[in-house]
């Protein structure tokens, strides 16, 4: 099963994004922080797309992407950064770390689904 992994320390955002993606037919896995996300992937989860918050306690989202790019199963996985920041320097930092793109909070459902379809179009056919 192809899954989208969402990483965010806010239960509200985890619930709302999971709801949007699940309603659209995607299978979703959640993690409350970067460390939990890494543990899930090291335990065998192979997500088809990662969406991570930027600001989290402990490891932040861009650091998580740097770590995931070192792992075989996520080396080529599309990864989106969720942030309240829209400054160019944050985007450049994310790109250098290997981010595929970003979503600026608050994320609207149609924008979220549009970006998911854009960066991972093959997921559409695999959606449940």
């Amino acid at each position: 099963m192809f899954r989208i992994l969402i990483v965010d320390d806010s239960p509200t955002i985890l619930a709302s994004m999971s709801g949007i993606l699940s309603s659209a037919g995607y299978a979703v896995e959640r993690a409350a922080n970067a460390e939990e996300a890494l543990k899930k992937i090291q335990s065998g989860l192979s997500p088809a797309l990662v969406i991570t918050d930027y600001h989290m306690p402990g490891m932040h989202g861009v650091q998580l992407i740097q770590e995931l790019r070192k792992l075989t199963q996520t080396r080529f996985t599309p990864m989106l950064v969720l942030t309240t920041e829209s400054q160019q320097e944050k985007r450049d930092e994310a790109r250098k770390a290997g981010a595929t793109g970003w979503l600026v909070k608050p994320v609207q459902a149609d924008k979220l689904l549009q970006v998911v379809r854009q960066v991972a179009p093959s997921l559409q056919a695999c959606a449940a």
Binding site: F76, M79, G98, T100, Q118, V119, P121, A125
Partner: protein, 254 residues
């Protein structure tokens, strides 16, 4: 609308079209995007850049231009050494099309195959033939690699006429042309002058970040892999990463 199918084209030869396709595809894959290459140049060098050759009788993109032209391109797709990059290989023995080429032949056949990819890059031959028209009729954006010398402005100008002809007659989705300087060394006066003329004629917003000279780009073809797998710290890898970021933001709108 953001572009998803990009043609890399210039009627002039030796402008690093294939080098661009191979190394930009690798850079996009390393940002997590699944990429399809279309090797429309029957020299098949984009395929060689990924270690892929179609043996005689195996399906290729050039099957579209034989007989009835009713080729199923999905059957021709091959995986490469890079997990996120697939290729529609060339027929290296392609003698030329059988009869007249339908201008939208590639566009029609490619559309369902390209839907599974975030980006499709089409490599083209350095000619102004029916296959170039097919490539432009399939794309939403064109990257034009060019050296910075006195003929560059004229050459890009000639190519731009083909681009506008296709955009106004065959393909209303073809909405962008970007110029990509190669072998850039701005210590050379001629190059600075050529760059100024390109900016003046086509606009600064159409100019992409350039690629500096790096012999490692040619050496990588000998290893049949993109440069980042052969010499990951080389300056051309840095340049292609900067180009990739620009293309993702300004062309693909990701």
């Amino acid at each position: 609308m953001s572009a998803r199918i990009l043609a890399v084209a210039n009627r002039k030869g030796g402008t690093a079209k294939t080098t661009t396709v191979v190394n930009l595809a690798a850079a996009l894959a390393h940002r997590g995007l699944r990429v399809l290459l279309v090797d429309l140049d029957s020299q098949g060098h984009a395929g060689l850049g990924f270690g892929v050759r179609a043996s005689p009788g195996e399906p290729t993109v050039h099957d579209l231009y034989r007989g009835s032209g009713a080729a199923d391109l999905a059957r021709a797709v091959r995986s490469t050494v890079v997990p996120q990059v697939d290729i529609l290989p060339a027929d290296r023995g392609f003698p030329g099309p059988d009869g007249a080429v339908v201008p939208l032949a590639l566009a029609t056949a490619l559309k369902p195959v390209a839907e599974a990819y975030a980006v499709t890059l089409i490599d083209t031959a350095p000619t102004a033939d029916a296959l170039l028209v097919n490539a432009l009729a399939s794309a939403q954006h064109v990257l034009v690699p060019t050296q910075l010398h006195h003929l560059a402005v004229d050459g890009v100008g000639q190519f731009a006429r083909s681009y506008f002809r296709v955009a106004t007659t065959l393909n209303a989705e073809l909405r962008g042309l970007s110029i990509m300087p190669i072998q850039v060394d701005l210590r050379i006066t001629m190059q600075r002058e050529a760059l100024e003329r390109l900016e003046h004629r086509f606009g600064r917003e159409r100019l992409l970040p350039g690629i500096r000279p790096d012999i490692a780009l040619a050496e990588a073809f000998g290893r049949e892999m993109p440069l980042r797998y052969f010499k990951p710290r080389s300056r051309a890898v840095q340049d292609f990463d900067a180009l990739c970021s620009h293309v993702m933001e300004k062309v693909l709108s990701i």
